[in-house]
């Protein structure tokens, strides 16, 4: 077991881990409900994944293999920084392969490769409250969740349709979990929402600054809010990946010059690299 001298395994002291673990079990038992917890200051700033980091630190062990992605990519600076943090404080094995990971900490994406039973997806969440733009007062949103009164959100989506002809939430589109709690999927693109529904992997959500943890157990219904005549529709750029040719993956738009030149490439770098390697092997 390695780590940093003078600091605990996985950074957190055992008392803090117990508090987080109790919180996680309650979160799993009440799918979609935001459990308040005593978030600690972490050596990374609030807003940079402290919630996800605390969740990962509370669950991770020596037999785990950790993958960290930001914007779907293992190479973005904050993903690199968080991966390095866990290598330092927990001596844990890391990977960039979705299929090899037991724990995947993510910001803003769900991997394209379907996750399997036994894997844990840890989301970094900035604003856990799905209603916060409509009602910023916590005491009031707590009451609305207790009553399962989500009329505010229905009205907001309906107003979108009246104004734009379609639901205009492109990311962070709210979901109902197990038919009871309205939940923020953390700001993933709406394209990823359907992947949450009855996912075989456990999904854990950590919001450090807002001090909330919530969870979606495996095989749980996660339904994007919509209307019968305006069904939810995930959006992706209508192109194929310029690197691997994928026509089913979520794409980043990359500007190649200053006169309108652009290409589209997979946001999930492991998915893209795996497809490119397979193509090369076939040639």
């Amino acid at each position: 077991m390695s780590g940093v001298p003078g600091f605990s395994y996985a950074y957190l002291d055992e008392g803090t881990k117990r508090m987080l673990r109790r919180t996680l079990l309650k979160a799993v038992a009440i799918p979609g409900y935001q459990v308040p917890f005593g978030a600690r200051e972490m050596p990374l700033p609030y807003g940079w994944g402290t919630g996800g980091i605390q969740v990962t630190a509370a669950i991770i062990g020596p037999s785990d293999v950790l993958k960290v992605i930001d914007q779907g990519s293992d190479d973005t600076t904050n993903a690199v920084s968080i991966r390095r943090f866990f290598r330092r404080v927990a001596g844990v094995a890391t990977t960039e392969r979705t299929t090899e990971a037991t724990i995947i900490q993510t910001r803003h994406r769900i991997p394209e490769t379907p996750l399997r039973e036994g894997q844990i997806l840890v989301y970094q969440v900035p604003m856990p409250e799905p209603l916060f733009r409509l009602e910023p007062r916590l005491a009031e949103t707590r009451r609305l969740h207790a009553l399962a009164d989500y009329g505010l959100m229905q009205v907001r989506l309906y107003e979108d349709i009246v104004r734009h002809g379609a639901i205009a939430t492109a990311y962070n589109h709210p979901v109902m979990v197990d038919g009871r709690y309205l939940m923020s999927p953390s700001p993933i693109p709406a394209f990823d929402n359907p992947k949450m529904h009855r996912m075989p992997a456990l999904q854990l959500f950590g919001a450090g600054r807002e001090k909330r943890i919530y969870a979606v157990p495996p095989y749980t219904d996660v339904v994007s809010l919509d209307f019968e005549d305006h069904p939810f529709r995930p959006i992706r750029a209508p192109h194929a990946c310029a690197l691997c040719g994928a026509a089913d993956s979520y794409l980043d738009e990359v500007l190649t010059d200053d006169s309108g030149g652009r290409i589209f490439v997979c946001s999930d770098t492991d998915y893209c690299a795996t497809r490119q390697a397979a193509r090369q092997a076939a040639e």
Partner: protein, 354 residues
């Protein structure tokens, strides 16, 4: 062919090396020792101790040096360190009435038991930039003989006359915001803990707003006391509390008018400010905001920003605030892309309809 950008460990390592170099500054000049910061930039250290919620001058000084003088970054460093420290116990409540005072000012009485003590203050200095400051050390300041007379709290004198609303004493265990999320609605001990480590600029602006009509406030500085208070702990080994040392404190009690309500006669009420270190501006601003947040208690309408409990308490913490504001520089291109596509789709819908 296009190759995806990589953030990479090397780029990060290089950036941090550059940071090291910038932090050191001109190597021809001596490095500033933390002891110098602790001994000479004392009010910067005090602010970092307060906002870092850790009363340790040396650690705060190290944090200030490491943060290149960015006091919010320094407070963050100190917080991230304190959270890893083991807890040996809890002190008894501090007895600030028995503080060893270096400064004590009341704006409500010309003279009072214990007297007025100006102490080492910027007040009445003429703010002329001292271009000769490096010329030499000042002569020792004259000292008055220590006044043995006790300096009772001004608010207590008023309370004895029945003119000041009494604070309810309570032995209830206060919440601990370093271990629990802020309860909403927040009991006053939680509010005070939150404000005591709140951002000084935020407290100052909110306190100021209550003076300008945003909130029903007519404040007087009942008393401002600055000095050192003993910290006592109870241990199983001794039958009496043990004094483990002194900490620097600034305490302010603001006296406010109150016109009375159906249940209470007209009387004075108070707002309370307390800070690690000698940050008197922080203690005064905190006292103004505390009083504004007591609106419900005194049946006052909550109309002004400083009276909105959730708004004030959830935005006071500069470590939280700076993290979330600064996180906007992290990549957001996935969500931005979804907005782009969405915008294009909505535009297309509109054009098709026209």
């Amino acid at each position: 062919m296009y190759v995806a950008v990589k953030g990479g460990e090397r780029a990060i390592a290089n950036a941090h090396a550059w940071l090291e170099e910038a932090r050191r500054g001109d190597p021809a000049l001596p490095r500033i020792a933390p002891e110098q910061i602790a001994g000479q930039l004392t009010l910067a250290v005090d602010r970092v101790m307060a906002e870092g919620s850790c009363c340790d001058r040396e650690l705060a000084a190290i944090a200030i040096a490491q943060a290149r003088g960015d006091l919010i970054e320094a407070a963050f460093l100190l917080r991230a360190y304190r959270t890893t420290l083991p807890r040996f116990g809890y002190s008894r409540p501090l007895e600030t009435a028995a503080m060893r005072l270096i400064r004590r000012v009341s704006a409500t009485y010309k003279d009072l038991p214990g007297g007025q003590i100006l102490g080492p203050t910027f007040d009445y200095t003429h703010r002329l930039l001292d271009l000769a400051a490096a010329a030499g050390d000042p002569p020792p300041a004259p000292r008055a003989p220590a006044d043995p007379a006790a300096a009772p709290r001004v608010t207590e004198l008023l309370a004895r006359e029945g003119l000041m609303a009494r604070e309810e004493a309570s032995d209830a265990e206060p919440p601990d915001l370093t271990r629990q999320p802020l309860p909403i609605p927040a009991p006053r001990p939680a509010r005070l803990q939150n404000l005591a480590r709140g951002d000084e600029g935020f407290l100052l602006a909110l306190g100021y707003s209550t003076q300008r009509g945003y909130g029903n406030s007519h404040p007087f500085v009942g008393e401002l006391r600055i000095g050192w208070a003993s910290v006592e702990v109870e241990t199983p080994e001794f039958p009496f509390p043990v004094d483990i040392g002194e900490i620097p404190l600034a305490e302010c009690q603001m006296v406010n008018q109150f016109h009375g309500s159906a249940g209470a006669p007209p009387q004075f009420t108070r707002g309370y400010g307390l800070s690690f270190g000698h940050g008197e501006r922080r203690a005064m601003a905190m006292a103004l905001v505390d009083r504004a947040l007591r609106a419900d208690e005194y049946g006052e309408e909550r109309a002004a920003p400083a009276q909105q409990e959730e708004f004030v308490l959830l935005h006071s913490d500069n470590v939280e605030a700076t993290g979330f504001v600064e996180h906007l520089k992290l990549p957001h291109y996935v969500d931005f892309q979804s907005e782009l596509e969405n915008l294009r789709a909505i535009r297309a819908l509109k054009e098709a309809a026209e």
